[in-house]
């Protein structure tokens, strides 16, 4: 088989997302059908899903989904987990054998509660404690990778076409109020299980079609705040940017979106003085959080889903609404295959975020 870089399969990533804003849960069949329709946009080197609302019985606990290369690293990581967390439940993530999915790592799931008293030096909250543990494991335990660490949500991903990955993880058996999906066509980095989308941190997840040319500027910026980019891929940094801006710096979501996809300076000049001041402050303080390059992303969080294009819209994205649901996909046909006669279909402008939140949540 030709190695990466020795062959080229022309393609582009695919993303898809569905949210029921009333919080009604539904299984993974629809999101698989949607992402499968865009098969042509992936090349079998990565597929994945994020699902919100799937673990209501454990909704107070963090759920860790972990890839292990071997049993010895698993033992080491479990030692660390036992020291830092109460482990309520642990076990394999159930999978079934699917023809095109092979060389899978060991895939484990833990429902845990942080032993926050372990942090003696400073007062930090549970999220921060958990965040630091996740970063530590992903950075220092070679052969182990926590690919999901939120509450009442989970990521499921691997090397393969997304529809095969969905079948492998039996997503028809999970019920979520929000699903996002990704079909990967890796361009710069090798396809490996940890490198598939979505990338998550705590409750954040990102699926991404595109390429971040500002990656290094963004990476340096988040690493100043204790993040560590371990995956050799640009999407990871988007997840950390949102975690930093919204969780740590407590920016309102709409302001954070203005930092990552800020308006052009000459567009700002046409705004009122008040808005100008605000936008200029964001651009100046968070200049290193500006994401440049072609992208369309779906950001998932506990509140709901946000879809965003780069400012000059170098990747395609379509939104549809029907009843309580909002749909996002790289191609309109991928929405229509699971949604007859949507009430409204449109393409947002570049840099214009579409925010679809659960009822009762605010931006």
């Amino acid at each position: 088989m030709l190695k990466e870089g020795e062959s080229r399969i022309p393609s582009g990533c695919a993303i898809s997302g569905i949210i029921d804003k009333k919080g009604k849960r539904f299984n993974g069949e629809e999101i698989i059908k949607s992402i499968a329709l865009m098969h042509e946009r992936s090349n079998g080197l990565g597929g994945g899903f994020a699902a919100y609302g799937i673990y209501p019985q454990y909704k107070e606990l963090y759920s860790f989904h972990i890839f292990y290369d071997n049993l010895s690293i698993k033992t080491q990581v479990e030692d660390f987990l036992a020291k830092h967390f109460e482990i309520e439940s642990a076990g394999n993530i159930p999978t079934k054998s699917v023809p095109n999915i092979e060389d899978q790592p060991l895939i484990w799931r833990y429902f845990v509660y942080p032993k926050i008293y372990m942090s003696k030096k400073e007062v930090i909250d549970e999220d921060e404690f958990t965040f630091r543990c996740v970063i530590k494991i992903n950075r220092e335990y070679k052969g182990a990778y926590i690919f999901s660490s939120g509450k009442n949500m989970g990521a499921f991903k691997g090397v393969g076409y997304p529809e095969d990955i969905g079948e492998f993880f039996m997503l028809d058996r999970y019920e979520a109020y929000m699903w996002t999906a990704h079909g990967r066509f890796p361009t710069n980095t090798p396809g490996w299980w940890g490198g598939a989308h979505p990338f998550t941190m705590l409750n954040w997840s990102v699926v991404h079609n595109g390429e971040i040319s500002s990656y290094d500027a963004n990476r340096h910026f988040v690493e100043m705040f204790g993040y560590k980019c371990t995956l050799q891929t640009d999407t990871e940094v988007i997840t950390y940017l949102f975690d930093l801006l919204i969780r740590k710096h407590k920016m309102p979501m709409d302001k954070a979106l203005k930092a990552v996809a800020s308006p052009f300076w000459d567009d700002i000049e046409r705004e009122s003085k008040e808005i100008q001041n605000e936008l200029k402050s964001i651009r100046i303080v968070y200049s290193s959080a500006l994401i440049n390059g072609p992208f369309s992303i779906i950001l998932g969080c506990q509140k709901g889903m946000i879809a965003l294009n780069d400012r000059i819209k170098l990747r395609s994205m379509v939104i549809a609404e029907k009843g309580d649901r909002t749909y996002v996909a790289s191609e309109e046909s991928a929405i229509r295959i699971i949604c007859d006669n949507p009430d409204r279909v449109w393409s947002p402008r570049g840099g214009e975020a579409v925010i679809a939140l659960l009822e009762g949540e605010n931006k």
């Binding site: 329709l37 567009d267 000059i312 819209k313 191609e331 046909s333 279909v345 393409s347 402008r349």
Partner: protein
Amino acid sequence: MKKIKALDIYYRELNDSIDNEIKTDKSIMLTDVFGQRYIGRGLPQGVKIKIQGTPGNDMAVYMDGAEIEVFGNVQDAVGNTMNSGKIIVHGRCGDTLGYAMRGGEIYIEGNVGYRVGIHMKEYKKMKPLIVVGGKAGDFLGEYMAGGAIILLALDLAKDEEIVGRFCGTGIHGGKIYINGKVDKYKFGKEIEKVSLDKEDIVFLKRHIDLYSKFFKKDLLHLKIESFSKYAAVNKNPYANMYCAN
């Protein structure tokens, strides 16, 4: 007219079966189309395809005289490098419509996305045309080198913008006609407003009539005076970029 139900048919098989069918019957109806790419690619004059559903990217790529009518919305890069023929879309359209189009006509009933008419070109009698019923996104007519785009801007709400930013950036040929007022900052520096001449008025009337016929819309209220014409400031702006000639 042969009917093909396209649901769950892989795009290659679908396009192969269209190739096969047109050997005996040049009129085809495709139903339940969901995202299959390249429908109508390179097809010659005489072929007529009607489509129900949402055809995939690069519909009518390199099309060479065929006619396609879509009862639904279309996606990205429709009419990519199309040579001749006609496309009528009863719906909206994604990005890069008419990418590097060389000839033929495209009529879109509703709105279109970003970079419509990018790199359109013309040569002697081959003059491509795109008529849009609704509004257009940023970069309309970017690097345009020939042909014409008509933006009718029908039925827009008050807060809707007729056209996005960077319109006509890098243009060095062709014409863009826009119904309604657009602020100057939205245009690239290579494009300017010019006055409508008699030929333009005849041209506009003819294609507005065709639009109203295709989509069964009464457009008698449209006033030619409310259209503005935009064209390249300089026909050959990059001639001296690397060496004086």
